[in-house]
Every structure is written in C-alpha cells, then in structure tokens.
C-alpha cells in the first residue's frame, strides 16, 4: 500500500517538475539541437541583462531586509500591546494585503510622482517595504512566542529593542527565514511596478527583461528564465534545513 502511494506520489512530483524541466531543456535547445548558444547570446550579447539581474537582486534584498526591521516590531506589538481595535487593525491589514495590483497602481503612481520618486529605485523599494503581506505572515508566527521568556527578559531590561532582540528573535528565527523566503520570492517576481514606475532601462528588473525577451537577438528567453530561478532556489535550499525543523502558525483572530 505504501509503495503504491509512493509511486503515485513520485508521478505527481514529476508532473509538477515537468514544466520547470522543460524550461531548462529548452534553454539548451537552439534550432532543434543541443547548444549553449542561448546562454552565450544572453551573457555576452545582451548587455542589458546584467544590470537588470543585479537590480532584481538589489531591490529584493533591500526590500526583504528593511521589511524585516519594520514588521518584526509591528508583529511584536500586535502580540503584546493591548488596546481596543487591535483585531480590527489586523483585519484592516489583511484587507489591504488582498488588494489586486490594478487597484493601487495609479494612486501609487500619483503618490510617488508627487514625492518625486518615479524613475528612482526608491519608487520600487519603499512601497514594497510596507507591504501588508509581511506583517500578516509575521504576526501569525509571532503568536506562538512563549510569554515567559518575554517576562524574563523584561525583568532585565526595559528597552524594547533588547527585549525583541534577545527574547523574541531567537524564538522565531525559523519564522524569520520563512518570511524572508516568501517576501524575497514575492519581490523577485515584480513586473508591473518596474515597468510603470521606472523609465530608465538601466534600473529595471529581470522579470521585465524576460517579458520583453522576444525583442532581443537570439534565444534568450529560456536561458534567462533558468538564471532567474537560481537565486531564489539558492535561498530556498539555504533555509530548507531550518524550515524542516518546524513552524507554527497561530490563530487568525
């Protein structure tokens, strides 16, 4: 019985991997034969590829790191502070998280333009730092911190930063890894914002390149897609071990 399940499972996994494998296979396929020409075209002839790649890395990394600094205290506050309307505030965050992009893109554009941030990296980074998604996820994980540790730390110090740093973060270390992974993957896939908020091609990101890949000489779409996979995969593999150790999510309420 177990064996049948395992086989069935293996097939399922294979189906999921198939499109990814196909992408990788196509990246080596030029004119029906095996060739590295696509990669050569991409890495040597597509001069816009490198800046776009590093822009993607830079934006995603900046957003992820700064976002952590914002959402950890916020989630901590959600778990510790007591005031009326806390639940409502959280529901509010959830609703904001669920807004489709088309809704906010024009007002965001107007806001950024008034602040003079169009065509600068900050126009991409700043709004994403405050994305409600991170707050919601972190809050769920934060629910499971052990209050006794907090109490203990509070005895020693009244500085909230110390409490968070020494008391809370060690406990939720694994959750931080998970959040980093989600947020990074989310930012890594951004297409609309770079296309509309950035005018200078040198500031745009890799997904924009891939969407417009037909316009470049040579078969660069699939090699670019493969390279696109790599950073997030590395991040995932890096955190995989830790994730296995377990994450608990608290109640939604």
């Amino acid at each position: 019985m177990r064996k049948i399940n395992a086989v069935f499972f293996a097939i399922l996994a294979l189906i999921f991997v198939l499109p990814v494998a196909a992408t990788m296979v196509f990246s080596f396929r030029v004119d029906g034969g095996f060739s590295l020409q696509g990669y050569a075209d991409l890495l040597f002839d597509c001069f816009v590829f490198y800046p776009m790649f590093w822009n993607s890395v830079l934006y995603a990394a900046a957003i992820t790191i700064v976002q952590l600094a914002v959402i950890v205290p916020c989630a901590f506050g959600f778990s510790q502070a007591k005031f009326r309307g806390k639940g409502a505030l959280f529901v509010f965050y959830i609703i904001l998280m669920m807004m489709p992009l088309q809704v906010t893109i024009l007002p965001n554009y107007i806001g950024l333009r008034d602040m003079g941030l169009i065509d600068t990296p900050w126009g991409i980074i700043l709004p994403m730092i405050f994305s409600p998604f991170g707050v919601v996820v972190m809050h769920q994980y934060m629910k499971n911190i052990v209050n006794s540790v907090i109490e203990a730390t509070r005895i020693e110090t009244n500085s909230i930063f110390r409490v968070i740093f020494t008391g809370v973060i060690p406990q939720i270390r694994i959750c931080i890894f998970a959040v980093v992974l989600f947020v990074f993957a989310d930012c890594w896939n951004m297409v609309e914002q770079p296309m509309l908020f950035l005018k200078n091609d040198g500031l745009k990101t890799l997904p924009v390149f891939i969407t417009n890949a037909q316009g470049y000489t040579g078969e660069v779409l699939f090699p670019a897609a493969v390279i696109f996979l790599i950073p997030v995969l590395i991040l995932y593999l890096f955190f995989n071990e830790n994730l296995e150790k377990g994450l608990t999510l608290g109640d939604l309420s």
Binding site: V20, L126, V135, I160
Partner: protein
Amino acid sequence: MKKHLKWNTKCKLCFLPSLIGTAVFFVVPYMRVLYYSLIDNQFRRNFVWFDNYIKTLTNKYFLLSLKNSLLLIAIAVPILMVLALVISLALSYGIKWVRKTRFAFVLPMVIPTASIVLIWRSVFADSSTALPIYLLFIWKNIGICIVLLTAAFTSIEGSVFEAARLDGANSLILHTKITIPMVAPTVFFTALLSIVNSFKIFKESYLFYGTNYPPDHSYTLQYYMNNNFLKLDYQSLATSAVLTSILVFGIVMSGIFIQRRFDR
C-alpha cells in the same frame, strides 16, 4: 527624572514605522481610489456619489468578470487546498525520500511568468474552458501552501502524539482532536493566501491568451479593470476596485467567523 514609557505604550509604538509606511503607500492610495469612484471623471471632478456604483453593478461585463473571479476562488482554491493537504501529509509523515521531493513542488513558485506561459500554451492549445488557467494557478501556488502546511504538520511535537497514544486514543481521535485543531489556523491562513494569489494570476492569464479580451470564461475582474484603465475610464476601474475590496472584506470576515466558531 527620566520618565519611562509604560510597557504597553512602547509596544504600541512598535507599530509606528509600519503604520506610517502602510498609511502612505497603501491607505492613501486606497482613499484616492475611493474618491475617484465617487466623482464623474478625473478632470471635472463633480461628485456623483453612487451613480458610478450603480453603473458598474449593472454592467454585464463587470458581473461576468465578478462571476469568473468568484468561480476561480470557489473551485480552484479548495482543490488547491485539498491537494496541498494531501501532499503535505505525505511529505510530513511519509518515508524519507518522499520528503526530499518537497523541492519539486516549490519550484513552480519561482518560475517567471513569461517562460512558463510559452510551455503552457503549447500543452493546452484548446481554449474552450478556463481549465489551463486553473491548472496554472494550482501548479504555481502549491509550493507556498506546501511549505506552510508541512511546517505546521512537522511542528506538532512528537511527544503530544505519544502522550495521546498512551492514553489509549486510536488513530481517528488522534487526528481529529490533536492534528486538526493544531493545523487549522495554518489551513485557514493558507486558504486566505491562496485567495490573494488568485487575484495575482492575471498576468499569466493575460500572456496565455495574448489579448485584452480573452474568452468569456476567463474574463476576470483584473481584465475588466485593466481594460478600463487603458480606455481612460478610471471611474469603472475605481468602483470595481472598491467593490472587490468589499468582497474581500466579506471573505475575510466569514473566514474569521468560521474560525472563531471552530475554536469554540
């Protein structure tokens, strides 16, 4: 004498950076959208209050797009959840090498849209139903669901099971009384996340059909909004956005309500 802030106040202050940022970049734009939905056009700015809402709610294309979006949520999300649960269970409690295959399910999450659409189009040439989009949605989002669910499953300490077994509980009770309650919050959260992501599938759908006017069965809210944007009809866009957010609010509230009842 230095006045120390109360602990509770300090905790409240923790919200500050997030609140300010969210207010500036999310709340203010939302208020703007709300304002735009109440005026007649971007340039003359006369208040017409609910006229726009009536126009949108009676527009058959809005209703069609609403229906399609709801169908996607009502059908694809449960299937996604069930599939994710089954796979997560297998991954959490299965034999070791099966666990290694978790990697395979996470891969779809990171593929860029443009490349996957090409492959999808060659596989699913027939576009008489919205099946390709549903499958694409499930395929893409299974990864994040699995990560969250397996994490939840594996975090249930083995000792809890041991203790229950010692008490003489059998498999069924084990699962209903222990596993499900402990995993339920994660399941709800994952479902919510999937609903959020169902709105994000627009880009894939757009590239798949290659047109602003896909077949009727795939015409979702985002198409409606995007087309109105390109036609400079920001009012329809704004009203449909506000209506969508009301819908979302409803879903979230009912989810919380169900969970509260479930906790009892």
